[in-house]
Amino acid sequence: MRLSNKNKKYVSEDFLLEFEDITSSFRATKSQPATIVKEAREVVCIARKFKDEIIRPSVEMIDKAASEDPEFLPWDFVKKANEWGLYTLFIPMPFGGGGYNFSCVNFFLEELGTGCLAMANLVGVHYLGYTMLTSSWNLKLINQISREIVENEQKGKLCLMSVAMTEPDAGTDAQNIELMNNGNLGCIAKKVPGGYSITGTKIFVSNGHLSQWHVVHAYTNPEKASENTVMLLVKNDSKGFSLGKKEKKMGQKGCPASELVFSDCYVPDELVCIDNTQIASLKKRPSEVNEQIFAYIWGASRASVGIFGVAAARSAYEEALKFSIDTSFKEKLLIHQEWCQSLLAQMFINTSVARAACFEATQANAQHGLWKILNFKTFYYIMRYTPKKIVEKICTWICEKTISTKLCRKITFDYHKDYEVDRVDGWGSMVKVAGTDAGMKNCQLALELMGSVGVRKDRGLEKIVRDTRLLQIYEGTNEINRLNIFKRFLQRHCPETETFSMKNL
């Protein structure tokens, strides 16, 4: 239906921008390839089967082993996940992977998360590392690492990725461009012939002890870190690299939070994902490029943490439902009592609303984020229906050409619209807060309903409570995410306001 001339006077570009901010899901109905829904169904079924056959039988054992033995690592679990092909499911088909669309990853992670958040994280964090690598648009390196992951999986070997950003004196500072220059960043990258030498420590690295590749952010000048960030790939057997301690966490014990130690660790130029020399030809300043990279990464990863929150909310609700069906209060089953029905309904609302928000974030990513090219119908159907070997050959040829990387970076960083970055990053923060808060609210309601049953280790809920609390902390605390939401969606109403600024103290 075309807008009639007499109604065009009502069109306001500013309002339309705000309208489009909240309607990615709605607009996706026309732009999204139809078979993505089929893909989502498939990955949910894979996740459910894996949850029932592998996760559920070993949840208690892994949590107990990790509590009692400081050296415990869930090698058996990650090997099983590797056997099932979980670490290549979402690697794009041109790179040899399973080729499932990234729009489906959150359905997949929710299903795994309802089995165990720690074990879901053992899979999810690998894709965080992969996403961080792809955000650099270093096509040659992306192709190389993707193929290594796929080939290792086919041989039954592990090739997991982790992300190393947080430092002992810099948590929030390491993740926000506005705070970096005033932060106490200590992981230094010194330019040496043929590469970089890294010295410093990274902490709270999820899966660090189980990963073979680590995506590391280091700084050539920590006092102006926002302009001088280097993203590099470090392999486990690199000279000068060692694994430090594992943190003793309250929950998600099955997923180690590792310390990585770099002592003049040499990283050759071939493993530098992105640095200032590689982006010298771009119009954007290095700090603007870094900000955009962070926005894309957090936009995707925070949506996944939000969906973990949904998984926690759902698990807590399911425990409460089971309890209500089995337990009598005042000589009547709880499930037959209105106040209990209302409580359960509220928990269901919390879960469903958070999930709906997560899908909006997923669509914001699909249409405006890092992976949007994979959702263009033409490109999608070409990849789907062209024989895999041909696509892979063409892709490898393209990726080997330096011009391809330069062109992709030019399009991504110089021609990307600010509103797209706002939308992706803003929605990522929004669902991270909404999903994780929903998870904690449902955990609290379930504990209040279940009493002494809820606090027992052998009944399931207490582990969900311990695991869920971490979701409000990692990938940026919820407080930082709230400020980010203000920056992305609200600051435009008062452009002279600054966010993450000393002036706001």
Binding site: T166, T172, S328, E448, I473, N478, E479, F500
Partner: protein
């Protein structure tokens, strides 16, 4: 019971604060706070020697009759450092409440030096069970001059380290339940240790009784009245424990936010962090006021004590759950680690919340009592 003077109360507060800061803290430093270690056992014994277990027991029954307010302040100071010991004291005292009121001679503050182990003075009690609204799993049958108990009881606090327990059981052909003292050292009891979310140094077990000898120790009105008495009085003590948790959480949060730099400044200078700390402080002040009011109502023997304590307990638990979560919040990833105490407080607050039954059930049960006790809702028309 005559209330203590301020000076006497301050002496007790000081003693408990020093005990918690030095002896209890040392035990935790040496052996951790995730199990009932030999070092922890020593701290429990010391607490007994300092009469912390005797504060609410009348002098005539071998206690020191210091009253509820003194008891609350001791539990609060202990909980600032570690709640498990406060839970151990509370459990024993709850178990003793009815037998002592009936004049039964089972607890004397004599020969402290002859106490070989904590089992000699600890009493087990199902602190998390609400036997009025939920099913009582034990049955009692008359045998000779006494009774025998049978059935499975979950979550008996101190069941695997006390020699005796006070537990509720149903008597055949009687709709009411009654409390019984049962010997836990008999061969007819079978125990399985239970691990939970919090208070990990306070041992809890599931227990199976098979015709275990027991002695009736309920008042003539039966178990419902007894439970009401115990839960009303010791819900205030639980408020004090939650308050201790909150105060410990705020103290550690303040210390951390002054030391931790982000964006080039201590994070206490960030207004969002100040707001969180302010919310924590507000909740603590409110909780102080609630506990104070409940103790005053108790000391004046007012009829509304049970609704005061019930409402204080519900609200203090909600506040403690928020404050201990905020304690982790301001400390970020560090707050989630076991090396620091915030995550333990988070777990302990939620575990204490389920004492005397689920919180939601308490909220449902509160209204009837509130309407009965409040004249404004009982005025007849005409």
């Amino acid at each position: 019971m005559k209330p203590l003077t301020n000076q006497e109360l301050n002496l007790i507060k000081k003693a408990s604060s020093e005990f918690a800061g030095k002896i209890l803290a040392k035990a935790i430093e040496v052996a951790g706070s995730d199990h009932f270690s030999p070092e922890y056992e020593k701290a429990v014994k010391k607490a007994y020697e300092l009469d912390f277990f005797h504060l609410t027991i009348p002098e005539s029954a071998g206690g020191i009759g210091a009253g509820l307010r003194a008891f609350c302040s001791v539990l609060e100071n202990i909980s600032i450092v570690d709640t498990s010991l406060a839970a151990i004291i509370l459990t024993t005292v709850s178990a003793l409440e009815i037998p002592v009121a009936l004049g039964m001679d089972i607890y004397r503050n004599e020969n402290v030096k002859e106490i070989a182990s904590v089992s000699d003075f600890l009493m087990a009690f199902p602190l998390f069970l609400d036997p009025v609204e939920f099913e009582v799993p034990l049955t009692a049958r008359k045998k000779g001059n006494g009774y025998v108990l049978s059935g499975n009881l979950e979550n008996l606090v101190l069941g695997n380290c006390a020699n005796k327990a006070v537990v509720p059981a149903l008597i055949r052909n009687d709709s009411n339940f009654y409390y019984f003292i049962v010997d836990l050292t008999a061969n007819s009891t079978h125990k399985k240790i239970v691990k939970g979310l919090g208070i990990l140094s306070c041992p809890i077990c599931d227990i199976r009784f098979v015709d275990s000898p027991a002695e009736l120790c309920s008042s003539p009105n039966g178990g419902i009245t007894d439970f009401s008495l115990i839960s009303s009085k010791y819900s205030v003590a639980l408020c004090a424990m939650q308050n201790g948790l909150m105060k410990g959480a705020l103290k550690d949060a303040l210390d951390y936010t002054k030391r931790r730099y982000q964006g080039g400044r201590p994070i206490i200078h960030w207004s969002e962090v100040k707001k969180i700390l302010s919310d924590m402080a507000l909740n603590i002040k409110l909780s102080d006021m609630l506990i104070n009011q409940c103790c005053s109502v108790y000391e004046n023997n007012l009829s509304e004590f049970d609704i005061c304590s019930a409402s204080a307990f519900i609200k203090t638990c909600e506040m403690a759950c928020r404050v201990t979560s905020d304690g982790i919040r301001v400390m970020g990833g560090v707050g989630y680690m076991e090396d620091f105490h915030q995550e333990k407080r988070f777990r302990d607050a939620r575990h204490l919340m389920v004492a005397f039954g689920p919180l939601q059930a308490k909220k449902i049960g509160f209204l009837e009592n509130f309407v009965t006790k409040s004249a404004i809702y009982n005025q007849k028309e005409g």
